[in-house]
């Protein structure tokens, strides 16, 4: 922080003024960023009727925890069963399971791939595998969406139905990943961007350190675990945080692959809830039906304030992940112990 605001020359009025201006500008930016958060929190505490009133109120007229209670009992409440079928914590657990597994499997795989590429391969093979890994970054996600979807149906084949073994009636054995958590976890394991980060770091470790450990008798895996990993803690923190966020917040792919109500994740469940809320509130033939639908919702108590509660609950894990990795994220990728 000290380097951000140097003390040099601070006696000069012009510099003080410009520094104050910078501080004011940054403060304004911070306020702008915090405003949505304020709206989320304040809306979640408003009573249902106030949420849909126009113009929206900036300060809640009354603070109530109704929405919070409602969301936490979402599956028990008879009225809301029409909207979502499972209690809220099911979605939360689904998301947590998928995210933790994707990060927990993904980091070692990506780190080891990068390490092998950086230190164990050399010459042409290193170059080719590097290009291969990075090449996966060059294809936009939307391009691979449909082929990936087809892959999840009958894993090794990109076909809606598994082909039959020639000469017989039986089908090839395939992995049916679709509508299982693995359809989300497996593609998220190798992250090319994390691979780049790891590779960039491992390239800065002098070969002689690795060689010294080899001469000391450490196996390649032991060297990675005992020598390289402790050096790479900040990189692990950055990549863990980023892949945690990307899997937890991922929406499109999870919407495509997870259909059973009990397998849906937080982000998809929130979306479905919004979708049903807005359909029920706005369509259904004529103003009368619309008003009726709206009053139904209001009676059940769940409107946008409930959505805000879900939004808060959904962002809490990201916030926790940030707190865990904060020290290393703020430090950037400044590596301890290297010149």
């Amino acid at each position: 922080m000290a380097a951000l605001l140097p003390k040099v020359g601070m006696r000069q009025p012009k510099l003080r003024l410009s520094r104050a201006a910078i501080a004011a500008f940054l403060g304004l930016g911070v306020l702008l960023h915090l405003l949505p958060f304020y709206y989320i929190v304040s809306t979640s505490l408003k009573p249902g009727a106030e949420v849909v009133s126009t113009p929206p109120t900036f300060i809640p007229s009354a603070i109530t925890l109704d929405a919070w209670k409602l969301v936490l009992q979402i599956g028990d409440n008879a009225e809301i069963v029409q909207l979502v079928q499972e209690p809220f914590w099911v979605y939360f657990v689904n998301s947590a399971f998928i995210t933790l597994l994707a990060v927990g499997l993904g980091l070692p795989v990506t780190a080891l791939a990068a390490y092998a590429n950086s230190k164990l391969q050399s010459g042409r093979s290193a170059r080719l595998s590097f290009l291969f890994f990075i090449g996966t970054m060059m294809v936009p996600f939307v391009v691979t969406l449909v082929p990936m979807y087809l892959l999840t149906l009958n894993f090794p084949f990109t076909l809606p139905d598994a082909p039959t073994i020639p000469g017989t009636d039986s089908e090839f054995p395939t992995l049916r990943l679709w509508d299982t958590p693995w359809a989300v976890i497996l593609p998220a394991i190798f992250v090319p961007f994390n691979f780049l980060l790891f590779k960039g770091f491992f390239d800065t470790i002098p070969d002689s350190v690795i060689n010294a450990a080899r001469v000391d008798g450490g196996s390649e895996l032991n060297i990675f675990r005992r020598i390289v990993m402790p050096m790479a803690v900040p990189v692990f923190a950055v990549t863990a945080y980023m892949s945690f966020g990307s899997v937890w917040d991922n929406f499109l792919w999870q919407l495509v692959t997870l259909q059973s109500p009990d397998k849906v994740t937080m982000s998809v469940a929130t979306y479905q809830l919004i979708d049903r809320l807005s359909t029920k509130g706005t369509t259904g033939g004529g103003a009368a039906a619309q008003a009726e639908g709206m009053s139904d919702l209001l009676n059940s108590g769940l409107t946008w304030n409930g959505m805000m509660v879900l939004a808060i609950l959904q962002s809490i894990p990201i916030f926790i992940a940030f707190l865990v990795c904060r020290e290393y994220l703020l430090r950037g990728i400044k590596i301890r112990g290297l010149k």
């Binding site: 042409r124 001469v215 008798g217």
Partner: protein, 373 residues
Amino acid sequence: MRIRLADVTKRYLREGSLRVASDEPPALDHISLDIADGETVSVVGPSGCGKSTLLRLVAGLETADCGTVHYDEHDVADVAPQDRGIGMVFQDYALYPTMKGAGNLKYYFDVHRRTEDEARARAKEIADIMGVGFELLLGQQTTTLSGGEQQRVAIARCIVRDPTLFLMDEPIVNLDAKLRESTRMEMAKLLKRYGITTMFVTHDQQEAVFMGDRIALMRAGRVVQIGTFDELYYSPVNLFVATFFGSRPLAVLPATVADRTVRFGEAAWPLPAVLADRLEPGPVRIGVRPEAWRFAGAESGGGARMAVDRIESVPAERLTLAHGTVSGARVTVVAPAGTAGDVLWLTPDWEAATFFAADGEHALHTPGAPEFF
């Protein structure tokens, strides 16, 4: 342990290239070496000559394209560096940055599943050998140590395991002059004490002479000559070896041999009988070391005329050096104290002069080591 390399060749790929560059000169070009048990061999040469590659190859960290490496009777081509029982000191020390000094020493015992007590006992033993204050270093994070301290930890890490072979890759080149001197002394003592076969890579000829029982001089991936200092200094196989050793430049004079005399510029000298019998008439090059000149009288025309550019005195070594040219060739001579003037008359000391071919660099005649005692 005896180390034998037979006809080892190693070629690198160009960095970042997908194609094999066949025009690239090999890093090691048909190297054969035989290091006796307990012997210390200094490998010396200009930078980029392949000496570090040679060391890594002996350690098993590189694989040879062809040729064999034997430890005693065993071909170690298929033995991983982990299993070779060697100790290696790297130029940049290569300490494990996330461990303390003690952790660096202990890692070997950890991966070999030895007991904690043994590791500690050995570390203590090494600390006694490494001298005063070493145990303090072990408690510190290695990144906070100075270069000299890191170097001591690196050497300790290398010897803590009782290696059968020491490999040292310019271990003291990063130290300041004074520390280098004392460390060199310490290391020579250590090597003597353990009597372990050692390869010591350096680019500093003085260090090579000091540390090595024998010296292997390398150039462009080849071992040009291997032998004791006297052999390399007084019987160089070629001009490169002759110019590499010696802290002051060897004068190389193009001359002609004819009628049992040697003619250089305007000067001509009758050749001593031994030389006259050995040298074919024709052009040669004469290598004369600065201390191997004789001075004729300042006035008379005896010998070759040297136009003096500068007279330099080196008080620490009680030397006076005269730099100048003799018939266009640059010459440095060790002059008698109090020498002054613009002109010196010189005659090479034929017993210490080396003759090289004029068209190649191989030696035609070398003086051989003088009998001092």
